[in-house]
């Protein structure tokens, strides 16, 4: 019981042209087995064309408590969105 296989996070590219997306995790002794297991656990119905695995312990995540300092500054910068600017119809598509 003490020798538990490490946890891996699994990322799948669903189709050519899309980025990899996190789909879940699994246990495996090493990276090669993690890819093999991910094939069986997460792509039984053609859900992917490419798999990434990364050891869960190697992932650094932002803390929920940092949500304010990290993301709130973007709230006030509405000029980053194109709709902030009114362009007259006569100008045409822009």
């Amino acid at each position: 019981m003490s020798n538990e296989w490490p946890l891996w996070e699994v990322f799948i590219r669903g189709q050519h042209g899309l980025s990899h997306r996190h789909v879940g995790s699994l246990h495996a002794p090493d990276a090669e087995m993690a890819v093999n297991n991910a094939r069986d656990v997460y792509t039984r119905r053609n859900e992917g064309v490419s798999i990434w695995v990364a050891r869960a312990v190697d992932i650094t995540a932002s803390a929920p408590g940092d949500k304010g300092p990290l993301f709130e500054p973007a709230n006030s910068k509405i000029y980053r969105h194109p709709t902030f600017f009114d362009i007259p119809d006569e100008v045409g598509k822009m």
Binding site: M1, N3, W5, G24, L26, P29, D30, M33, D40, R44
Partner: protein
Amino acid sequence: MYAQQVKSTGARVKSLEEMDAQERAFQERIDAGIKIEPKDWMPEGYRKTLIRQISQHAHSEIVGQLPEGNWITSAPTLDRKAILIAKVQDEAGHGLYLYCAAETLGVSRDQMTKDLLSGKAKYSSIFNYPTLTWADIGAIGWLVDGAAIMNQVPLQRCSFGPYSRAMIRVCKEESFHQRQGYDIMMKLCDGTVEQKEMAQDALNRWWWPSLMMFGPSDNDSVHSAQSMAWKIKQDSNDELRQKFVDQTVPQADYLGLKPPDPDIKWNEARGAYDFGEVDWEEFFRVVKGGGPCNKERLAARNKAWDDGAWFRDGLMAYAATRDARKVAAE
């Protein structure tokens, strides 16, 4: 259901005024339909209830492979065999999605496995019944997966993000399970007199255990109120059971089969089927370990775990040696 015996806190649900600021903020997020993620603050009771529920659900998927696995080598055709293997493999996948969701709450996979193997953790009572004939494989897909879908569809909206996402994956795969089961039943009911009798016999044996999957009657489920407030559970056991009966009786009609309950009768006023009382004594006996196959199921899981130990350890040793060699070469 797949988690029939989930003990929650056992305490009365607190009103918002009775909660401290942190707990109130948490409850308000849930009420607003915002998902809770693993690193967010949560009440200890929420965490514990979820660990119990998700791990029971996972154990059910894993143990649930055994009754069907029993027929893989005896499937009547190569096609049926390939389909059954794919179905059982899906159930293994469901177990794995769910274990991972539970692990995000801070319980280890080995701990959950240990609790299953020791008999401490529960799994659904339905998997303690034997699969005696091929028709049982049809009945399981039709009834057991059908009941599972009924329970799992609302769980997609569960307040805990990882559980909800696991349920979304599971639900995408379940409809194949139910349809392959019903397809087996249709073939048998279209066949010889003996084959149709076999289908009826399977329905007779699986009907009541399927109704038990939804858990005790609402009057006896003391832990539901808190789980509903936390949106871990959306519908009451009796509501889901009624929905299942209403959906399944016409499907049995189509097959020309009769559920083994003389009290089934369409109730025009309610717009639903009336049906008889489940034998709750049997339910609690099976949950407590007294079903026809409880011992066999646990023994099979223990054997698989013990027999696989050299393999798990061997692969870990191999990975460690290779990593050490890589470090030495650098």
